[in-house]
Amino acid sequence: MELSRRDFLKMAGIASAGVVVAGSAGTLLTGCTPVAKSKDGSLAGKQMAMLYVPSRHEEGCTDCTQACHLKHNVPNIADKKHEIKWIWETEFQHAFTEYMENDLLKERMKGVPYFVLCNHCANPACTRVCPTKATFKREDGVVMMDYHRCIGCRFCVAACPYGARSFNFEDPRDSLSKPVPNPNFPTRERGVVEKCNFCSELDIQGGELPYCVQACVKRKGSLEKSALIFGDLADEKSDFHNILEHLQKEEKLIPLRRKEIAGTQPKVYYLV
């Protein structure tokens, strides 16, 4: 077959356009949130989630924040612009800004303390925008940070609708005790973004509780009475599921999530 130079170039052009279109169609079809698979498949089919019952909060108690920040070497920086937070106390109007349109609710709820943390969304915005996949979703629903890959671009900070991410403007070790509070857990360095990791260093799939929940359980006596409750939402036979059902059916609490309208499917539920 005789192929003129002109025809060859036409065919090459069409073929490369086809590759580009097929590639982007593939991305659109599979969704923009690729999931990092666990090597042995131990995380598959799980959906770790957190419940928070605001009415059980004792005034002034910050046990969860203290436990978390000590165990994860989170520095306490006085400068508000540079502060690092994993789980912290805020007020209802900041956690649920959309409800502030409701003038009656606004009066009632203003100033009520609420604890907030990374929501480990099922459809996270942060992982979509990360150019290096330094932040990614694990099979069990935990949104992870790989500090080795983070280039500090802060796209994720801008993308997160919950302000759950903090950027290290300064070396966190300058604001930590020496030796660091928990020598067995790494610190971060200047120029990376950090956030709550749902205590992925623990065996959370095996039933171990994150440090914040442990602290609350210690104060309240049991997981049933705790203000923070953690477990696998996908496991319908778990204690976690029983507690969730009890809270909804017996205590008549309604599970709210922050900024539903953002479409991120948060996995931290506020039972009010």
Partner: protein
């Protein structure tokens, strides 16, 4: 050739200056001072590394990088030694440093500074205090 004498002298001076690092280290005896990490105490205690020393010397960079990716991205935290079959927690601070190599300045820094590499592990991972 014009200025033959000047050119030859110039070349000799250039070569002498250019090769200073080589003959200087020969003259002072620095060339023989290769880094040496004393692990006799660990061996006497009956401890073995995750893999044989020769393998570790050559491949520890890759091994640690693999561990890092396995733990952070694959939720795979247990390493089974190919040589010995024993299992270890994949952790630089909690396994390598805390359990055996508590002498970071001798065991890590000495060789790294000899070959002129600056690994950035320690800007986040904690160093176990030397005893």
């Amino acid at each position: 050739m014009y200025d033959k004498g000047k050119i030859i002298i110039g070349v000799i001076i250039f070569l002498a200056v250019f090769t200073i690092p080589f003959w200087y280290s020969q003259a002072t005896g620095d060339a023989d001072k290769s880094p040496y990490a004393d692990t006799s105490k660990l061996i006497a205690e009956g401890k073995t590394c995750v893999e044989p020393a020769d393998y570790m010397r050559e491949h520890h960079v890759k091994l640690l990088t693999d561990w890092r990716n396995d733990v952070v991205r694959g939720a795979d935290t247990i390493y089974t030694s190919e040589e010995y079959g024993t299992t270890f927690d994949k952790s630089l601070t909690n396994t390598c440093l805390e359990q055996c190599h508590t002498n970071k300045s001798q065991f890590c820094d000495q060789c790294h500074s000899y070959v002129g590499v600056k690994p950035n592990c320690w800007s986040c991972h904690n160093v176990v205090e030397e005893k």
